[in-house]
Symmetry: C2
Subunit: 252 residues, 2 copies
DNA sequence: GGACCTCGTTGACTTTTATCAATGCAAATT
DNA sequence: AATTTGCATTGATAAAAGTCAACGAGGTCC
């Protein structure tokens, strides 16, 4: 049984979907982390409802005016940046409980695109209101800062990956990261469906899609994973981890 | 005449250096941006003094407990991340007016090292106090968020560079970025001293030092720049820019 | 002032990844 | 059920960057 099932077909964008942090099983992963019941109620009344997006549709695009950040309720997103000359860099993949849109705070204009990779739902969090509330609720303010800082730290990890790792290390790191995040959400750490194409993985990892495909095949040949198109099963997590620390792997 | 001159020799770390945003000519680049005189005075009284660091000394290290963020008053820093197996990724170079240390907010522990690449001075901004003050001064709160968001956007730019550009494009982007930042601080956009080694540039750009050196040499052969060790003069900024948009460069 | 030492440059060669191209697979459409 | 279409795999070859090694320049320390 797979952890990740597609949503039913739903309207393109449905504003006004009722949402409440206090009822949400993601609250410990998401913005309301650490809030008291009373404060969570105040956050509830600020959340501008939810939106449903069908696969392939944009939550926002580079150039859009920034008004809100978004919390992923369900589904899967990618963010990417485009240059004038058509280059495309995937900057992240976001799943339930993760926050999208913080790129827009700095200039009040979004600098990247956010696309649903499967039918998804988000909570809309108007940023001005969030700032007002967070100046009253210290733990909310602090947690917002933590969420932004965590994004910075995550980005440093991606830089490390892009700057110092070879193709197979990058892919191993990518799979282990997904595994850990699925696990934190109660899904299997060993078996999951990739929502993104080889090309999107390649863009994220700074590789061409053929290189990604070959690395998958080699992992399978080596008995580390089993791949069938987008379905991944990690057969040997510990050995996959040793790919990331080649020195230890050889010495140990 | 070079814009960037080494500081005199000074004690290793000197806490208690008197600093005041209201007197600082970097205030429009830095955290107090947009504050009224009154509010700037309140920020002044929060700043925990300044620190001087000699070249090669650490402002903080990965693993240090997080207490403050820092604003660079003068000098030049690099930040880098290390993995267990000894890999080292430079994640940024910081100059006057830029903020350091936001990586530590998320876990209350710094995740990277910050090293002075020349004798430098920073202002120490205790973060808990900054949060308290920013819940009272809305424009300070908002500007802090902008600074953090700008860091996220900057990181996306580095990902783009590492993920999609070839060696010479990366170096061109790097030089143009330095040029623009020196220019914003009133220094020459065309002539400056690099504070970092080829190896540090390479680490930042995901290249080996020899590749960086060869790219410099080729730029010089092509009449784009003039290089003499750490002294750089950009001879043809427009043409250097065309290296970043190869499609346009060929079509135009 | 000379020796040392770090950093930078350059060359020859190797490794890795990209590119180009063909084929296969599977889900979506009619 | 057949066709289309997008995605994935695989192979052959080319290009880019890395590695190893030697040498040179500049600054620092006695």
């Amino acid at each position: 049984m797979h952890a990740n099932v597609k949503q039913n077909v739903i309207p393109l964008i449905t504003p006004g979907l009722k949402v409440a942090c206090s009822q949400c099983n993601l609250r410990e992963l998401c913005l309301p982390f650490g809030l008291s019941d009373v404060d969570m109620g105040r956050l509830d009344s600020l959340i501008g409802g939810g939106r449903k997006l069908k696969r392939g549709h944009y939550l926002y695009r580079a150039g859009d005016p920034f008004e809100s950040i978004f919390a992923v309720r369900s589904g899967f997103f990618k963010t990417d940046v485009l240059t004038e000359d058509g280059r495309d860099q995937v900057t992240g993949f976001q799943m339930a409980g993760e926050i999208l849109g913080m790129d827009g705070i700095s200039t009040e204009i979004h600098t990247c695109n956010a696309v649903a990779l499967e039918d998804s739902e988000v909570c809309l969090i108007p940023f001005t209101e969030l700032e007002m509330l967070s100046s009253e609720i210290h733990s909310l303010q602090h947690h917002l800062h933590k969420v932004m800082s965590r994004e910075i730290v995550r980005d440093h990890g991606v830089m490390m990956l892009l700057g110092t790792m070879r193709a197979e290390e990058r892919l191993a790191a990518f799979l282990l990261n997904l595994s850990q995040r699925f696990s934190a959400r109660g899904y299997s750490p060993a078996e999951f469906h990739l929502r993104m194409t080889r090309e999107e993985i390649g863009s994220y990892l700074g590789l061409k899609l053929e290189t990604v495909s070959r690395a998958f095949s080699r992992f399978q040949d080596d008995g580390l994973i089993s791949v069938q198109q987008k379905h991944i099963r990690i057969v040997d997590i510990p050995r996959l981890k040793t790919l990331l620390t080649p020195a230890d792997g050889r010495i140990g």
